[in-house]
């Protein structure tokens, strides 16, 4: 009787251990990442943001100086009682030039923003891919405000670890 009980207990234990092992083996390894947090903290994003703002400021400076020049001509025209036709012509020419420049800067700024965004994501995607492979994940879910994931268990958040990995990779291995 005692022997039977031992055999049954042993069989149950073996079954449980094997079952858990198979369950863990089959179950995909998953985790989630707070995408906005990862993106905002990425050094490359900060560098490109600084570069972007610097370029924007330089462009604003150019436009400001052109506008100052234009207002100076405008005042001269007002003082002369709008009699000097060559000054009036110059005014319209310069105003057109400013408008063209403004339009060109706006287009360039949009293209630059797109280019930088694409560079950042290209790099982040590569690093996330490498991280997932290195850590043996089957799926890494990105959590953002798009309501794709309505619930996620807090313990599976790997954002901080991934942030560290991404920074290390970006600064050189």
């Amino acid at each position: 009787m005692k022997k039977k009980v031992i055999i049954i207990a042993f069989s149950v234990a073996v079954f449980c251990v094997l079952g858990s092992a198979i369950y863990l083996w089959v179950l995909p390894k998953t985790a989630y990442v707070e995408v906005a947090n990862l993106y905002d903290s990425f050094e490359m994003k900060k560098e490109l943001e600084t570069k972007f703002q610097k370029t924007q400021k330089e462009r604003e400076k150019i436009l400001d100086s052109l506008k100052t020049e234009l207002s100076f001509i405008s005042r001269k025209i007002e003082i002369s009682g709008r009699k000097n036709t060559s000054e009036i012509e110059e005014f319209y020419k310069k105003r057109e030039n400013i408008e063209l420049k403004q339009q060109q800067f706006d287009e360039d700024t949009d293209a630059m923003a797109e280019e930088f965004k694409s560079q950042i994501w290209k790099r982040l995607n590569q690093y996330i891919d490498d991280y997932g492979k290195a850590k043996g994940y089957d799926y890494l879910y990105g959590v953002d405000n798009s309501y794709t994931f309505l619930y996620h268990k807090k313990g599976n958040d790997i954002t901080e670890d991934l942030k560290k990995y991404v920074e290390q990779r970006y600064k050189g291995k």
């Binding site: 490359m44 560098e47 694409s118 560079q119 290209k122 790099r123 590569q126 970006y170 050189g172 291995k173």
Partner: protein, 203 residues
């Protein structure tokens, strides 16, 4: 008596473990080109694979003299001529392993010629070496085109040696502005440079 012998053994072991290993020309070339030794670093981004190869003086001298069969004639002179700089090869390859790097993901011929112009004339100023707090400009730059023969193109880059180079890691920073990749950094650790075996020179 026993403790003296033990101390002697420990000292001997320490001495053996600290001694720089030696290598023949062929072994040295193999060592330097082995990714596991930290002197060759690969970085995949988008459709491109960037590879940085650190080139120790002995390695360059061997390649320059063009023989790996153990003949060390002329090695000392060549080494001296190369000792002013730290040199690297920076290779850019298409990820698919087929398309020429300059033609990978281009829209038209204009893009192709723009890339050629960039790598031939302008890329030099976008490459820097950061060693500790010092940022050094690239003083040697040579771009080797592959003319469709290989999927990669190579840049030979060099930086003037500075005093801190014996203690600091070297970070090669390439802030490219033509492939849509942006800044890419490679870190060659000082400990990996220190671990390079010494070349056996026949007397």
């Amino acid at each position: 008596m026993k403790s003296t012998a033990l101390v002697c053994c420990i000292i001997a072991l320490l001495f053996i473990s600290c001694a720089t290993p030696e290598a023949t020309q062929e072994e040295l070339v193999k060592y330097v080109e082995d990714e596991g030794n930290g002197l060759k670093i690969k970085e995949e981004v988008g459709e491109f694979v960037f590879t940085l190869q650190y080139k120790p003086i002995e390695y360059m001298a061997i390649n320059e003299l063009g023989n790996k069969n153990g003949d060390t004639t002329g090695l000392a002179g060549t080494k001296e001529a190369l000792s002013e700089m730290e040199q690297f090869n920076l290779t850019i390859e298409s990820k698919d392993g087929k398309t020429e790097m300059l033609k990978n993901q281009i829209q038209n011929d204009e893009d192709y010629f723009r890339r050629i112009e960039y790598f031939s004339m302008a890329a030099e100023k976008d490459i820097k070496m950061i060693s500790g707090k010092d940022t050094l400009p690239c003083v040697l730059y040579h771009f080797e085109r592959s003319y469709d023969i290989t999927p990669y193109s190579k840049m030979v880059i060099g930086f003037k040696k500075n005093a801190k180079e014996n203690i600091e890691d070297r970070v090669i920073s390439f802030n490219e502005s033509i492939l849509g990749i942006g800044t890419i950094n490679f870190r060659v650790k000082n400990k990996d440079i220190k671990n390079i075996p010494q070349l056996i020179v026949a007397k």
